[in-house]
């Protein structure tokens, strides 16, 4: 009989799209509970010092106030264990209410709980705090001499690393072309459309249900249970939808612990939603980076030495390092490479991963430097990259699992028309007199897999529910997993319901590192395959089985039916099978973890991005008018979603290149543009009318999810450098400090 063609690899609209546009999808703050109270944070208005006194008398008398939560009456929170708080593990290990120290502006000192949000906010404004100001550390460059040398990023990646001997090459090869330039990226904030939000409800048995916008329900459960000293099963985290996170949600942040503490002292369910300004101090940010790149090459452009040194900052209470040198180790073939990171503790909020942490900021510097080297060598920038093509991961001396970057270069260049580029900067004007520039860069991003599990349940109506404690950040998890279920069990997608975002489901990793599909899909497939095996057993095992006598190998599972391949009259629907065998439901579990090849091979996604910019010669306004990006991210499971993801990532790249930046006031450590009117993210007119995004669609033979590698973050990698390089080509001005706003060009 004819098999239904697989839905994997086909363009599919989001299965949750209608829920979202009709408002039916519930986000953390949307859930309804009885007796709900509202909390508003009390925050520090200094960046460094000690709280002398919190005068809450006026706030307590304000209309509608139920309680004021401060260190005085807060439940005693327990310090997080090492596994949740070690340096290098993203998040903020210092819990609220531990002491009277203030480490950054906006630090959570308490909350007002009231009948309405407005009452809570007004009362919070009536709280008077007296401080003893302390030494203020806001100047990254001024305090660079106090930098430490952090060791690891995320417990996995060395932050001080080298191969060969860079210094020897520098000292002994005078004929090489050197670029030794400093590049910088500002503090940036994630700014998802949905702010951080938590709804905490305790029951009489000391069980907490926390609806919270998090991309790590299991991690959040551990943090909350640990902080409140509860057995893990007493805490349930629910998050069916995330309105974007871009790195911000997940980890241990103070606000949802404050919400849970507020609910406890108020003895009411409490909702706490961060305001937009609070999104700039309460949920991480990308720290500022100042990066120096040194490149040495022979006259043919072959790299001889590469130095990448990063100065960045963390908060006073946590060590998190923006790992800018991550990719520098392996992007190009080069015998001598040195990576360093220096970290200064400053009175700013704790940084965390954001939109390709390290890779986005690091490739801006490296790929700008490569462009500068190409200019010095009088070599085409693309040709320089091809001459330094890395045939293996030279750092760990591993073969690539699958790398087709050359094809990305070739196809991208052809589609863009790169070969007609006049290398001379400032050589082209458009009919309106704007300077036209073309730039390119390489994009690379690690392809990881984490352990995950799932459960599949067939009901007697033939519908299938599959559950995993994974996340939907807007990227298409519901859709992609539904595709995998439909594919594995041979049912139409509309018979499948995928459920996620609940600690009662089988465990799944934090959503990050572009690993969601690669991690969760194999677990979903395993659960569905196990269910399939059970279906076949039900069908053929034993004398009374409906398909008794058929060999297992002759059974076909397709179109929601179990059938014999040899005798087409022997066929029944899943629901008939359950009915005939006396089953209401049939369940199966599955799990997956990285295979042995993960130790032996290097897994990365690749891409090449080409952009055209137009620059007003007098006014310095830059517009990106054309983008071509060709990506090697393994098998494409859903071309519509894949394109959307890359389109979003490149748009973030435009933002990073041209407009994004959070600006601290050096005298107070307070951010001056903590709002969406003055923290600029791209609007529609900032992106080109057409994105030329293409995928090679070559399955990675060693990736479990049908050869798909992650594509979550690779879109932002390379784009800022490609734009900066295009600005140089247009104007002859090399802008090494992002963002490239008009003031840098006039």
């Amino acid at each position: 009989m004819a098999q239904t063609p697989s839905v994997l690899g086909t363009p599919r609209h989001r299965v949750d799209g209608k829920l979202k546009v009709t408002g039916i999808a519930l986000y953390a703050s949307d859930f309804k509970v009885d007796r709900l109270a509202h909390a508003c944070l009390i925050q520090s208005t200094i960046a460094s010092g000690t709280v002398i006194e919190i005068d809450q008398s006026e706030a307590e008398r304000a209309p509608g106030v139920i309680a004021v939560l401060t260190r005085r009456n807060a439940p005693k929170l327990q310090a997080l264990p090492e596994e949740l708080s070690a340096n290098g593990t993203p998040g903020e290990s210092r819990l609220p209410f531990q002491d009277d120290q203030v480490y950054f502006q906006g630090q959570h000192l308490g909350a007002v709980i009231a009948e309405t949000f407005e009452q809570a906010r007004e009362a919070a404004a009536l709280v008077r705090i007296r401080y003893q100001p302390g030494e203020l550390r806001t100047d990254l460059l001024g305090l660079a001499d106090q930098a430490i040398e952090p060791r690891m990023f995320g417990g996995r990646i060395k932050l001080q690393d080298k191969r060969g001997d860079v210094d020897w090459v520098w000292a002994n090869m005078p004929q090489v072309r050197l670029v030794n330039e400093t590049y910088s990226t500002p503090i940036e904030n994630h700014n998802p459309i949905e702010p951080g939000a938590a709804l905490a409800a305790w029951d009489e048995n000391d069980h907490l249900t926390l609806h919270v916008s998090t991309r790590g329900v299991d991690l959040t459960q551990k943090v909350v249970a640990s902080a409140f000293g509860l057995p893990i099963e007493n805490v349930r985290i629910v998050c069916p939808f995330i309105g974007g996170h871009f790195g911000s949600k997940g980890f241990s942040w103070s606000y949802f612990l404050v919400a849970a503490a507020a609910a406890r002292i108020a003895n009411r369910p409490v909702r706490l939603v961060l305001s937009r300004p609070q999104m700039f101090d309460s949920m991480g940010q990308r720290a500022r980076t100042v990066q120096t790149i040194g490149l040495a090459a022979d006259e043919n452009g072959k790299l001889a030495a590469l130095k990448h040194s990063t100065l960045t900052h963390s908060s006073m209470i946590y060590e998190y390092t923006e790992p800018c040198g991550n990719l520098t180790r392996l992007m190009y073939a080069c015998p001598n490479v040195q990576i360093n990171h220096h970290l200064v503790h400053l009175n700013y909020t704790t940084p965390c991963p954001m939109r390709a942490p390290g890779e986005a900021a690091g490739t801006f510097a490296l790929e700008s430097a490569m462009d500068e080297l190409a200019v010095k060598l009088n070599l085409d920038p693309l040709e320089l990259r091809v001459r330094n093509y890395a045939e293996k991961d030279e750092f760990d001396q591993r073969a690539w699992s699958s790398k087709h970057l050359r094809e990305c270069y070739d196809r991208g260049a052809a589609k863009f028309g790169w070969s007609s580029r006049n290398p001379k900067p400032g050589s082209t004007r458009d009919p309106e007199g704007r300077m036209v520039g073309w730039g390119m860069a390489t994009a690379v991003y690690p392809a990881n897999q984490q352990p995950a599990a799932a459960k599949a349940i067939l009901s007697n109506d033939g519908s299938i529910v599959v559950r995993s404690a994974t996340h939907e950040a807007g990227t298409g998890t519901y859709t992609a997993m539904t595709q995998f279920v439909a594919d594995t069990l041979g049912v139409p997608m509309d018979r499948v319901q995928f459920e996620l975002g609940d600690t009662q489901f089988p465990p799944a990793p934090v959503n990050g590192g572009s690993w969601l599909t690669a991690s969760v899909a194999p677990a979903v497939v395993a659960a569905c395959a196990a269910l399939r095996d059970k279906l076949i057993s039900l069908g053929v095992d034993g004398p009374s089985a409906p398909l008794s006598g058929q060999a297992r190998n002759d059974i076909v599972i397709a179109d929601g039916r179990i059938s014999s391949a040899k005798d087409t009259s022997q066929s029944l629907s899943f629901s008939d099978l359950l009915a005939k065998t006396g089953n209401q439901t049939l369940e199966a579990d599955g799990s997956a973890k990285p295979g042995d090849s993960y130790q032996k091979l290097a897994f990365f996604s690749f891409g090449a991005i080409f952009v055209e910019v137009k620059v007003d010669p007098d006014l310095g306004e830059v517009r990106v008018t054309r983008v071509v990006g060709v990506y090697d991210v393994g098998k494409i499971l859903n071309p519509l979603l894949a394109r959307s993801q890359l389109l979003g990532g490149i748009t973030f790249g435009i933002g990073m290149a041209l407009m994004e930046g959070t600006i601290p006031d050096m005298a107070t450590g307070r951010m001056v543009n903590a709002n969406l009117a003055e923290y600029h993210v791209p609007v529609f007119t900032d992106v080109p009318p057409d994105f030329g995004i293409e995928f090679l669609d070559v399955p990675d033979p060693n990736m479990a999810a049908n050869g798909a590698r992650g594509l979550g973050e690779i879109g932002i990698v390379g784009a800022p450098a490609a734009i900066a390089n295009a600005v140089y080509h247009a104007t002859g001005k090399r802008i090494r400090d992002l963002p490239i706003t008009p003031d840098r060009l006039v």
Partner: protein
């Protein structure tokens, strides 16, 4: 946000009576600026007088049949799209459309836009300790702070904030007249006198007196509508405040510039005009007009700070560009 009384009068007399008698009262029109400031704690009105029932939204020729009278409560979006505005005052339409976002323009009114407070982070966020505008005598956080968007003209040591309105820059070159009514009856304030320079009283953005209400903006007729330009330089292509903006309205007859009106936005506490600069090209052939000298005269006395040095050059180039585009328009 503090508790407050809300009232919605049905006529102007009631509105004026309320503003005079109620403590810490504020008029509410579109609310796009007042509510922002209120939520931040910069404004804390005790009475909110919703003036949406007062009418005052007509857009029609003035009673004598010439020019245009725009009601104070006309929405920015309605003004921008109005046929008489588009045909007779295109620079106003362009300026309005260059400002804010469609959603904000749908809510914001002409009167409210005139009353928009100057934009400065040290003013908008009460957690900053120093702002003479918010807390007279507390100092200016921007003077030695982050002053990239701040003034280069007409500022004082008390305040270096800029007026963020695009509309007002266009009104400045249109020689608009602001009609107001108060306890003493009606009066008319020329647009150039409506906004103030900060001087020693940065807390006052305008010359509107307490208990006065803006009723309309009058525009005198324009002889030449072709050579009108609104140029806005900003950090992103839409929904961003001007780094520098220029409104220019030229009249050209028989190969000669018969009138030149030029206003700069984003550089001062108010839209910046300089009659002596405009006079430099009056009676001059547009082909040989010394736009660079106009720019230099406009910017005479300009003073920049650590982060807004670029404005000196950007403003100069913007003026030259706007005038070049204006004369080339046909």
């Amino acid at each position: 946000m503090n508790n407050f009384a809300y009232v919605r009068p049905n006529d102007i007399d009631s509105a004026l009576n309320l503003i005079r008698t109620r403590p810490k009262a504020r008029f509410l029109a579109g609310g796009t600026n007042l509510l922002d400031l209120w939520k931040m704690g910069v404004e804390q009105p005790q009475t909110l007088i919703d003036i949406s029932r007062l009418g005052l939204a007509d857009i029609a020729p003035r009673p004598d049949g010439t020019g245009l009278r725009i009601g104070a409560l006309a929405r920015n979006s309605d003004v921008a799209e109005h046929s008489l505005v588009l045909s007779q005052y295109p620079v106003l339409s362009r300026a309005l459309l260059a400002g804010a976002s469609p959603q904000l323009r749908n809510a914001a009114t002409v009167g409210g836009n005139l009353m928009q407070r100057t934009r400065c982070p040290y003013f908008y966020d009460p957690a900053f300790p120093s702002c003479n505008k918010r807390k007279p005598g507390s100092g200016c956080g921007a003077l030695n702070g982050y002053n990239r968007i701040h003034a280069i003209l007409g500022q004082s040591d008390q305040c270096i904030a800029t007026n963020p309105s695009d509309m007002c820059v266009a009104l400045a070159v249109l020689d608009a007249q602001v009609r107001v009514i108060g306890p003493g009856g009606e009066r008319v304030i020329p647009i150039g006198e409506f906004h103030r320079l900060p001087g020693d009283h940065p807390e006052l953005d305008s010359t509107l007196q307490p208990n006065e209400l803006i009723t309309a903006v009058d525009l005198p007729p324009m002889a030449d509508t072709k050579h009108a330009v609104y140029l806005k330089v900003r950090d992103r292509s839409l929904y961003a405040f001007a780094l520098v903006s220029v409104a220019a309205a030229l009249a050209i007859e028989n190969g000669s510039i018969t009138s030149a009106r030029i206003a700069l936005g984003g550089v001062a506490h108010k839209p910046w005009r300089e009659p002596e600069a405009e006079a430099l090209i009056q009676g001059v052939s547009p082909d040989h007009a010394p736009f660079d000298r106009v720019a230099d005269r406009l910017l005479q006395g300009a003073h920049a700070y650590r982060y807004n040095q670029y404005k000196l050059n950007l403003a100069r180039k913007s003026v030259i560009r706007a005038l070049s585009v204006a004369v080339a328009s046909v």
